[in-house]
Every structure is written in structure tokens, then in C-alpha cells.
Symmetry: C2
Subunit: 231 residues, 2 copies
DNA sequence: CGGTCCCTTGAGCCACTTCAACTCACGTGG
DNA sequence: CCACGTGAGTTGAAGTGGCTCAAGGGACCG
């Protein structure tokens, strides 16, 4: 079997696992894989930069990618931590415009690129895909608005617990994530996040080591009357 | 001319003014008007409620409508103040699912309804409309994320100025809006908003009276390095 | 003319941010 | 292999913005 075929198989396998493309027929997944290319990134590489026009749809094949915005004072707001099967940009491919988000590889990562016009052409041929995209964007809006409301009526510890809970649902109990990343997801400072993590460690809810957090008591993170975030 | 024709003309006129439908051909606007119905609401009427499935696309014909979410502790976060030509729900028509937003008439208002399947069918026939919808959703995400970042590194007075500036760009210098609405848009308490408004009044930037704010010095509201919000 | 909603202002408090200093783990280049 | 730099984690102390609670005045509506 040729290398290209191996690569094609991998792309198809990824698409069939990706929620975004789950509803597509096998033929459609093959078609999509045919126009997709894959690129490799090392840790801290920039997948795409703020202020640069969008020319491709991107989806994570392997690794972890952080999509975030930087404020005027240098604070970082992390909007999405994407693992395998998760798309990094849903709006850009349709508008072609630049947006204020930066995508950085948190770990070594492979990203699949599909030229934007080819992707949107494909999407318009598959209405269900359009609906899914709109649905995901709706969840993104809801999640951001939830974060605003949480900042109004929840303490840092509650917000941070919610972030940890959502992350453990998504990636499992072992999180290879720094406290700084957690702070950026919780909308607080690194110091405050560290203090709360320290408290949680002392009460046996988590264990921490450099760049790693292990959830020991997932049930302690659950806040009643509080659905998960979309991160 | 029959009453129905008059009503049809009005709908077409509205669609031609609405940014969402601006790019459509006159024929398409006529088609859309043919499947649209109009309903009247008095002040404080609920246009649609949280937790109820979406069965229609809605767009404001006349008046002002507030779309907001309520937090567990009863705080209200206003997500959109919609005037004539602005859609109230872009996601619901595609998914049919309920969302956590409440739409209330701030003033007497006329709202145009289009049955959701008819609307989505129409949208899929007009790809440009889909692109515009995705673009607007992207702006909504960006705006919510901007609000989060503003809460991190801006004081209430700066956030409130930005809200006033955006509102005056959208609705003109005379705002028939209460301080409470401003607070809900600024993500702060009514008291804090009132205090800031009081300061702005004393420095001659605005004039206020019950339920009304008049911008006297629009230039004083502009914060350098800060684009407008999408409200 | 009574009630409700909006506006106004004061006083106190407290969760967080900020600033600062220090330790530790890791990798890298001399 | 060691020295050094960098980035993460840790903890303390101090200051404060704006939230909360409270109390009252005035406008509009039924």
C-alpha cells in the first residue's frame, strides 16, 4: 500500500470519529479526505495567527491546540482547547476574513487543512453539515455568555471547578495542562488559579505536578444546577 | 389595494432594509415575504421564552426587543437589543431546539415570523444568506468574548462608555433605555451603572431623565484601541 | 391617589488582583 | 557534565473596585 493511501485512510478514520462529520456518508468522508492535506506542528507552533485572512478549514488530527484571544493588556482568554476531531475555525472558511484568534499547538500536533472554498462548496452540498456548524456556533455563544454570568455570580473556585470538570469529561482525569492554561480558561489570574488548585490539592480532590493535574475525586467538582461549559 | 397587499409591501420593504437579506434579489425577497406573518406585541410581552422549542425564525419589524439570559441568582445578561430589520434567533430555526434566551418587547413592537422549516429551506437555496448567518454568529461569539476580556482589564466606567457608544451608533443619540438595561449590557449592577451615569451627567457627556439617556458628547465615549461591540 | 418602577446616594466589606520574592524542574549549550 | 536561563509553581502582603445592603425621593400609571 502506498504512503498516500495510508494517509488517506487515516484522514477518513479521523473524519468518521469527528462529531462534525459523523453524520456524513462514507462516500462523502472519502470525498472530503481527498481534498484534505495534513501538516505537522511542534509544541508552541502557531497554526494560524490573529489578523491573517482565513484560507483553509482546519481540524485537529492529533495533539492539543489552544485557540485564544489576547487582550490589550496582554491577558490571554482561551476560547477553545481542541483535541483530535475538533475543528479550529468554523466562521473563517465561510467569510474568508481574519479573526482575532490565535491557534497554538499545546503539544506536538497534526492538523488537517482543507482549502476554504473547497470546504464551503462541500458544506453547501451537505446541509446537515451546515446545520451542525450553526449548532456548534450557537453552543460557543452560549458558553461565552455562561462565562460572563459566572463572573457575575460565582467565585473563582466555583468557576475553576467547572472548568476542571468540563476538561475531565473531555480529556479524561489526567490533564497535561499548566495552571496558567486553567487560569486562561477560568478568566482569572495565574496566581488565583494556583491558590485554588492548592486548596483542591490539600482537600484531596486533585493531585498536581509540573504541567499536570490529575483529578482524584471528580464528584467533588460538580456544582449543582450548572451544566457543562463548551471549551 | 387590498390590506394583504399593503402588508406584503411592508414586509418586502423591511427585508430590503434588513442587513441579513440585503444581498437577496427582489424576487427572493418577495418569495420570503409570501411565507412571512406579522404579529403585534405590547411593551413587556414575551416574544419567545427560554426552554421552548424553536418553531419560527423571527425578525423585528418595528420597535425594540431585548434578548437576554437570566442567571441562577436572577441577574439578567442582555445579549442583543434588536431594532427594525434585526433577527432575534439565528440558531433555533436550524436546530429546532430550545435555547436559554428570552426575547421581550422593550416597547410596543411588530415581529415577523417565518415558520422554521420554510425559512431554512429558503436559506439553503440562498448560500449567501447562510454565509451571512454564520458571519453574524461569529460576531456574536467575538462580542461575548470581548465582554469577558473587558471584565478582566477594564473598569465599569470604560465598559459602560463602550456600551453607550455602541448604542448611540446603532440607535442615534437619544436612547429610550433605562439604566437597568444599560447595566445588563455592561455586566454590572444597576447601582454601579447609575453611579457612572451620574458622573457622566455631571461632566456633561450625557443628559438623563427617567428611562431616557441623551448623548451630548459622543466623542467623549470613544475609548482608543477599542472597536465597537455587537449588541 | 396608591402602588410600582426607576433613580439616587451612602457606607462597609471582601474576594481578587497586583506586586514581589523565592523555589524548583527542565532543557540546552558551552 | 555542569552552568545557566527560562518557565512553572508557590506564597505573602497590601490595596481596592465595585458589589451588597439600605433608605429614600420622584415619576408615571391605573
Amino acid at each position: 500500500m502506498k504512503a498516500e493511501s495510508v494517509s488517506l485512510e487515516k484522514k477518513i478514520a479521523l473524519f468518521s470519529r469527528a462529531p462534525l462529520f459523523g453524520g456524513l456518508s462514507p462516500e462523502a468522508q472519502v470525498e472530503l479526505a481527498g481534498i484534505a492535506t495534513s501538516r505537522h506542528f511542534v509544541k508552541n507552533d502557531i497554526v494560524f495567527q490573529s489578523q491573517e485572512p482565513c484560507d483553509a478549514f482546519t481540524i485537529v488530527e492529533q495533539g492539543l491546540v489552544r485557540v485564544s484571544r489576547y487582550s490589550a493588556t496582554g491577558k490571554r482568554l482561551t476560547y477553545l482547547l481542541a483535541g483530535p476531531g475538533e475543528p479550529l475555525n468554523l466562521v473563517g472558511p465561510f467569510t474568508g476574513a481574519s479573526r482575532d484568534y490565535v491557534a497554538e499547538a499545546c503539544t506536538e500536533a497534526s492538523i488537517i487543512f482543507i482549502e476554504r472554498k473547497a470546504f464551503t462548496g462541500f458544506a453547501f452540498d451537505h446541509p446537515q453539515l451546515i446545520i451542525t456548524i450553526i449548532d456548534i456556533l450557537g453552543q460557543a455563544v452560549d458558553s461565552s455568555n455562561s462565562r460572563i454570568m459566572d463572573m457575575l455570580d460565582k467565585k473563582v473556585i466555583q468557576r475553576l471547578k467547572r472548568v476542571l470538570h468540563t476538561l475531565s469529561e473531555k480529556f479524561g482525569p489526567v490533564l497535561n495542562i499548566t495552571a496558567m492554561e486553567i487560569a486562561d480558561l477560568t478568566s482569572t489570574t495565574t496566581e488565583s488559579a494556583l491558590r485554588v488548585l492548592s486548596d483542591l490539592r490539600q482537600s484531596g480532590v486533585i493531585e498536581t505536578s509540573r504541567g499536570r493535574i490529575v483529578i482524584q475525586k471528580p464528584e467533588a467538582l460538580i456544582d449543582p444546577e450548572c451544566e457543562d461549559l463548551w471549551i
